[in-house]
Amino acid sequence: MMAKIFELTVNGRKTRVDGEPSDVLLDVLRDRLGIYSPKYGCGDGECGACAVLMDGKCVLSCLTLAAEVEGKEITTLEGLAGDKVLEALRNAFSANHALQCGYCTPGFLLSTRELLLEKLERSTLTRVEIKEHLKGNLCRCTGYYQIIEAVEAVFKELTGKEVTKEAEIV
């Protein structure tokens, strides 16, 4: 047994967790730390349901060893209370019915937040950019469209500007 003690910083709190080098971050968060918002959907990084923030960047926790995040800050949905962009996104997701079963939603909230944080500085965003940014988050309930509308609503709310739509072919 190659035991290891992880010193993790999750949602602002330092914790020590007993484990092994082969422990995957997603399972450590869910099974040992009681953090359930990141989900198992595919296990190989294709669906985005396991998204967490590592030093502020969205990453796939199902492809991250717990050992890899020592010395880094892990943030999940649970740790973003009071975040203004997230608040706006929640309201917009609800108003635009951008979720149904809710399983992929934490992943989408983190991804859309990352996109908006990037784009709010420059105050430009196109619909194509939204689609490109969200392609790592799979959803089988909504068909994506109302999620895209929610993101566009938040961008407008926070910048006063409309998201640019691509020129129509027809």
Partner: protein, 800 residues
């Protein structure tokens, strides 16, 4: 529309059901922790076969058992005596037992489990699973259904001649006469691939057998726990009245978690053997490879006969359906379920169906999938109608108008016996053509073609049956006891005059809490803030509800709630007659008040009544204490007659769809640019929810039409095992959706609603196939098979 008649129904409302998910507070089965008063949880890992067809010569579990933390390792043979009844299989010609929970003697598809390790944690279970030594003797495998039907093909199950456990023909009307009278007959072969629903959450269950009380507890993400727990209880030998199945938040189902007993039976059996709670939560690969993947592979040989003016006279179909390696409890359902709307939106008086179910060494397709086969039939039918249109020189719009069931012809009985309740197909089509600016689109298409671009404008006009009764199960199995699919609701008013509606079904994101609150508020004429809708979690404590499936819940709860409200009003009037007092015959309830019809000053409010009935209970008849009512109803249905015609899906919606695609003829890639959809699902309760359901369903339709496909190599090795190989559309593939509604209420229920959940997948593939074919019209490419993949398209283009 409905927004004018009702205060709440029809108005967009934020779904309160979804709020918790925005904070990561859903309770999905993988989040569930067993109560701490129970023994600690055990985890399992399956040992899955890498062969599609092989004899199991030996299984050596000795090394696996030695791994510290392993509680036990079981093979298929070990578990045989623990099947107290065979796994249910709805095809009587298959000798029972047809299947065991783990393979016994033989494996019949890639990924079929042969052993299971039970351990203290998941990693230990997986490490030990890799130490199980299985010796296989590979056998020839058969993957293609038409190959499997030939003489000399390897037999998937002994004694099942030509791998066909079921074949039958269904004549409705007189096709021979119709075809003899016809001026033209259009013939073609259509192909719809094997699909896998792939909700983002796989299936999972935790079972605990409490041997002190003799009661089983099942926590799972089943779409319909009540329906399933009965079957599982039978296999496990547990009395059904001691089998609790608990409802959870479900991470998408669309049928994938319906009619699948696997996780319940496996964990139940193992809990009985170990005395501890046992969990099984599938991996994505296990989900795709296991025996509930989804929609069967179907080949249609179709002939459609018509007069030269385009009037359709008859429809003949020979269907070959590949059910994989095993048949299950719902197995052939996806053949007969589409009988509900077999002839689509058209008047086709003569129908003949010849259906063969075929077994092959591929994943068993015994589950239901969004549309239950209706999308497949609509694909074949709509393509055939377009082929017919070409033959008689009519355009796609004309031929549909010619054959539509007309608004004044409802209720309309189709040859298979189902009855369409209401509709206005010409109006919906008109609305769609306007919405899409069809003529302008056609002009733009011409202009772009001159610039070398291939834009396609598709059209599909398809009805959408909803709220099934599972009568179709009896078709292949006439010996079985017929069943229908009722629903129930409870209603009560508390001492504060607030209404509580209790429902008895699981949900996977349909926002019924919000929808039913609107129905209750409008039905009682009270403020919606005085209504709360709650769901009972334990099936044993539940009234009878067959639970979601076949777009059931909205229209049938609409019916049931209406009945419950009626009973409540009767109760309110009776109690009012005592409290006022006044003659019951001259009292009526409306909008929160019981008022004398012959003296408007004599009244008592709902709140006043409720306070007495809940607090001063001595003042009211005992049966009215608490103002509690229940209602359980079947939706209308009939049992099969001598011709096997039956009425089982009473609500019939409709849509007219116009997708716009671009085909890159250099690379074969199809891009859906826009999708226009006008939907008639009767009264729409909550428009943003309805729109979301439609769009989600349409993307499922797109998945089938263009992307995901189950693939096996010729030896039966599964090649599509994850999202990298079973393609699901991402946000990049999502087109703009332009959705509008036209409401033709149902006359069968209280508020006129019809189901909407499966709509998109029933119409999507037909519509997109039509669009791609339209794009390539000049190149004379016909779309007869889906998915329309780039390599198939290039192959077609090269042939021209």
């Amino acid at each position: 529309m409905s927004a004018l008649k009702f205060k709440y129904i029809g108005k967009p409302e934020k779904a309160v059901d979804q709020l918790k998910f925005l904070h990561g507070r859903g309770l999905f089965i993988d989040d569930f922790r067993v109560p701490s008063t129970l023994p600690p949880l055990l985890q399992v890992a399956l040992v899955a076969s890498p062969y599609a067809h092989a004899k199991i010569k030996s299984i050596d579990v000795s090394e696996a058992k030695k791994v510290p933390g392993v509680v036990n390792v079981y093979t298929g043979q070990d578990l045989v005596p623990h099947h107290k009844a065979p796994l249910p299989c709805n095809i009587p010609t298959l000798p029972a037992p047809h299947q065991y929970i783990l393979a016994v003697g033989k494996v019949r598809h890639y990924g079929e489990p042969v052993a299971v390790v039970v351990a203290e944690d998941l990693k230990t279970a997986n490490i030990a699973a890799r130490k199980v030594k299985v010796e296989y003797e590979p056998l020839p495998a058969v993957v293609d259904p038409e190959e499997a039907m030939k003489e000399g093909a390897p037999l998937v199950h002994d004694g099942v001649k030509n791998n066909i456990p079921y074949h039958d023909v269904f004549p409705f009307g007189d096709v021979d006469k119709a075809f003899a009278e016809a001026d033209v007959v259009y013939k073609d072969r259509f192909y719809y691939h094997r699909t896998c629903t792939n909700p983002i959450e796989p299936l999972g269950a935790v079972s605990y057998y409490d041997n002190l009380a003799g009661e089983m507890h099942l926590w799972s993400n089943f779409q319909n726990p009540r329906y399933l727990s009965g079957f599982s209880a039978g296999v496990l030998g547990i009395p059904s009245n001691k089998y609790h199945a608990y409802r959870f938040d479900i991470g998408g189902s669309f049928g994938a978690k319906y009619a699948v007993l696997y996780t319940a039976i496996l964990t139940g059996m193992l809990s009985m053997l170990t005395g501890r709670p046992v969990k099984y939560f599938e991996t994505r690969g296990e989900y795709i490879a296991s025996w509930h993947a989804g929609g069967e592979e179907r080949i249609y040989y179709l002939e459609i006969a018509a007069r030269k003016d385009g009037t359709i006279l008859g429809l003949k179909e020979k269907i070959i359906s590949n059910y994989g390696a095993y048949m299950g409890v719902y197995s052939p359902g996806q053949e007969f379920n589409p009988f509900a709307q077999w002839t689509g939106a058209y008047k086709i008086p003569n129908v003949y169906v010849d259906v063969s179910l075929v077994l092959t060494n591929t994943t068993a397709g015994s589950s239901a999938q969004r549309g239950f086969g209706a999308g497949q039939q609509m694909f074949a039918l709509e393509r055939a109608v377009d082929g017919l249109a070409d033959m008689v020189g009519m355009d796609a719009v004309e031929i549909r108008r010619k054959n539509f069931i007309q608004p004044n012809e409802f209720p309309y009985v189709i040859p298979t016996g189902n009855i369409y309740d209401s509709g206005n197909y010409p109006a919906v089509l008109e609305k769609a053509l306007k919405l899409a600016k069809y003529d302008e689109l056609k002009k733009k298409q011409e202009e772009l073609r001159k610039k070398g671009r291939y834009i396609g404008i598709g059209l599909a006009t398809v009805p959408h049956r909803s709220s099934y009764n599972i009568i179709e199960m009896a078709i292949p199995n006439p010996g079985m006891l017929l069943s229908t699919s009722p629903a129930s609701a409870s209603l009560k008013v508390n001492d504060a005059g607030q209404v509580i509606v209790t429902l008895y079904f699981a949900q996977s994101g349909q926002s019924h809490k919000t929808a039913v609150a609107k129905m209750a508020a409008d039905g009682l004429g009270i403020d919606i803030s005085d209504v709360n809708v709650v769901f009972e979690e334990d099936t044993l404590k539940s009234l009878y509800d067959a639970e979601p499936g076949g777009s059931r819940q909205t229209p049938i709860i609409d019916m049931v709630l209406g009945e419950a409200i009626k009973r409540l009003k009767q109760k309110l009037v009776r109690v009012a007659s005592i409290l006022l007092p006044w003659d019951e015959q001259h009292l009526a309830y409306e909008n929160g008040v019981v008022r004398a019809t012959n003296n408007p000053d004599k009244k008592i409010t709902l709140k006043e009544l409720a306070l007495v009935a809940n607090w001063q209970t001595f003042k009211v008849p005992s049966e009215d204490v608490g103002l509690q009512v229940e209602a359980s109803l079947n939706s209308p249905s009939t049992i099969p007659d001598a011709m096997r015609r039956f009425y089982f899906y009473p609500f019939m919606g409709f849509s007219a769809d116009i997708p716009v695609v671009e085909v890159d003829t250099r690379t074969g890639v199809v891009k859906v640019l826009k999708y226009f959809h006008v939907n008639d699902s009767g009264t729409i309760i909550n428009p943003p929810v309805a729109r979301g359901q439609i769009i989600g369903g349409l993307v499922h339709g797109m998945t089938d039409a263009l992307y995901g496909e189950m693939k096996w190599d010729k030896d039966g090795t599964l090649l599509s095992t994850n999202f990298g190989t079973y393609f699901l559309p991402t946000s990049m593939e999502a087109p703009d959706f332009i959705v509008d509604f036209h409401e033709t209420p149902s006359p069968l229920n209280t508020f006129g609603s019809k189901g909407i959940g499966e709509t998109g997948r029933i119409v999507g593939p037909a519509a997109i196939a039509s669009a791609v074919e339209d794009a390539l019209k000049q190149l004379k490419v016909k779309i007869r098979e889906i998915p329309i993949t780039p390599d198939r398209l290039i192959s077609e283009l090269k042939r021209r």
